[in-house]
């Protein structure tokens, strides 16, 4: 019995490419991840539960996922705005702004962290003006959100930008001819077409935020129960040679991240139901 139907495709080797894809994903993603799970197996169920639900760990989940969620939401709004401006308007320096968007990709995260911490600390360029207003950014969860927003921005911009480029002006013209005003055109015609890509950008930005370590530890202050992120907790456990504890927490992070990405993917599929 043939497992797969033969396709007469221009690109040869369905078998070879699928085989390679699985092999590659195994080496790069699956094997390291399963090692993580195996390592955790050293713990009994009770130990596992008590490790991953310890109050300090629970607080770190809240900080990490909460901040990443808020950062991704902020990026989803302002990233779309940036992408829109870059595609729709021609202004001097557009190319430079376009290049600036990628900077968070390229910058070593530690550099970003130090820079942000310097600027937003109570005697920094921006921080000194915010301090009298009662807004403290550096060394608080707010700072964590800020760092995550910084590193997540390019993900939204770069996923939404090509989709905005593809929206034909004719669709907007059609909407206007039918009597729609700017707001209706935006919310009923343009936004629904951007929505799937915004979701993708949101998911990527969120995932990046959850996994971020380098830039955050400089700005977070790392106070247990307040501004300590889960990746830092894992590092701390590793430094104390508590490998199994570290991997247990890592497993939980992995699970939550996976579930959230899955939900976003399903949402995205639903939002693109018209395409097939």
């Amino acid at each position: 019995m043939k497992l797969f139907k033969r396709h007469n495709n221009v690109l040869p080797g369905f078998g070879i490419t699928l085989g390679f894809t699985i092999f590659y994903l195994s080496v790069i993603v699956l094997i390291p991840l399963s090692a993580l799970v195996f390592r955790t197996m050293g713990l009994t169920w009770g130990e596992f539960i008590s490790t991953v639900t310890a109050p300090r760990v629970m607080a770190s989940y809240k900080v990490t996922f909460g901040a990443a969620l808020i950062a991704a939401l902020i990026n989803a709004v302002f990233g779309v705005l940036v992408a829109w401006v870059l595609v729709r308007y021609k202004f001097p320096g557009r190319k430079i702004v376009d290049a600036l968007v990628d900077l968070p990709f390229a910058l070593p995260t530690a550099v970003a962290g130090i820079t942000l911490a310097t600027i937003y600390s109570s005697n920094g360029w921006v921080g000194r003006y915010l301090e009298p207003l009662g807004i403290k950014i550096a060394f608080t969860p707010l700072g964590i959100t800020l760092a995550m927003t910084f590193i997540g921005l390019p993900f939204v911009v770069r996923t939404v930008q090509p989709v905005i480029e593809e929206i034909e002006v004719e669709l907007e013209e059609a909407a206007v001819c039918l009597g729609a005003n700017r707001w209706q055109t935006l919310t009923r015609v343009i936004f629904p077409m951007l929505f799937p890509s915004i979701l993708t950008g949101f998911a990527l930005s969120f995932a990046r935020g959850v996994g971020e370590y380098g830039s955050i530890i400089f700005i977070a202050g790392n106070m247990p129960m307040v501004s300590e992120i889960t990746p830092l907790l894992i590092i701390t456990k590793l430094e104390q040679f508590d490998y199994r504890g570290a991997t247990a927490i890592a497993c939980v992070m992995l699970l939550i991240s996976f579930l959230m990405l899955l939900v976003v993917n399903l949402l995205q599929k639903w939002s693109r139901r018209y395409a097939d």
């Binding site: 206007v176 629904p192 018209y274």
Partner: protein, 356 residues
Amino acid sequence: MSIEIENVNKQFGTFKALSNVSLAIPSGELVALLGPSGCGKTTLLRIVAGLEYADSGRILFNGEDTTQSHVRERRVGFVFQHYALFRHMTVFDNVAFGLTVRPKATRPSKQDIREKVMKLLQLVQLENMATRYPAQLSGGQRQRIALARALAVEPQVLLLDEPFGALDAQVRAELRRWLRRLHDEIHVTSVFVTHDQEEALEVADRIVVMNKGKIEQVGTPDQVYENPATSFVLNFLGSVNMFHGRMSQGKAQLSGLQVHSNGYAGADDTPAVAYVRSHDIEIDRSQIDNSSIKAEIKNILKLGPTVRISLLIEGNSEFVEAELTRDKFQQLDLKHGEHVYVHPRQVRVFVDDFQI
């Protein structure tokens, strides 16, 4: 609803898209703007719609100046060449769009919208496609939905920009016949842009032939075909043979044939061009009169019902194209390389751009 276009000019950078165009479109007519690409026909349509603004000149709807009014207020139905359907909406929602975006005060009830949309879908014969998405429809179906969507807002004017341009030949022919019937049913003043002369001749009540940002001729399909005002119009409608020659003493002396042309009695020794439509060239084995020219058959192309024959005029390096019906061709039993006589039935001579 009549449309008047008065002295409209439009320039894009250094390119003059429209120069001083004036046109009156009577209420309830189906008018074709016909011309080669880049002649300004689409620009003119978009200016009428309000999607583009004229540099100078006026647009009047029913005698009322609408030059400055916004697209939204003009109540025009616009159909785009590439349909411009909202792909994230079902067919139903696409057609309903124009009704659902109305302000609350004038928006029909959900039930009314439903009835109206279903009626329109019936009109375009796609009532069982209401729940589909545009991606699931064929090109012809999409364009019909686009038309239904434009009609939903009860436009005063229907404007179609190369509505069949993206469709294949058969669907195209079918759809234009359907558009003609539809127009006979609903009688909304309609203007459509096309570069396909056959389409314009078949569908339109009146044809506006445009070239290089100017109107060459306005008339019924018969008028523009039978009495082309300029050599451009003649050239553009149907395939034509050109004979270059000179005008002298009221006679055009052309390669091998002489034509009396009284209109140019005064013109002496000026260059002239004579045009003969391919299907106005007769082929005979013998000489009928002194307007017959001896020629050699160089090529025979059978194109379904018609046969196109290329002939080389004797003592001359000019080619002539003749179109015969298949019947006639079989009757004559013409062969490649054969020497025959060609006889132009109807010759039109133009000196510069004046007609006889």
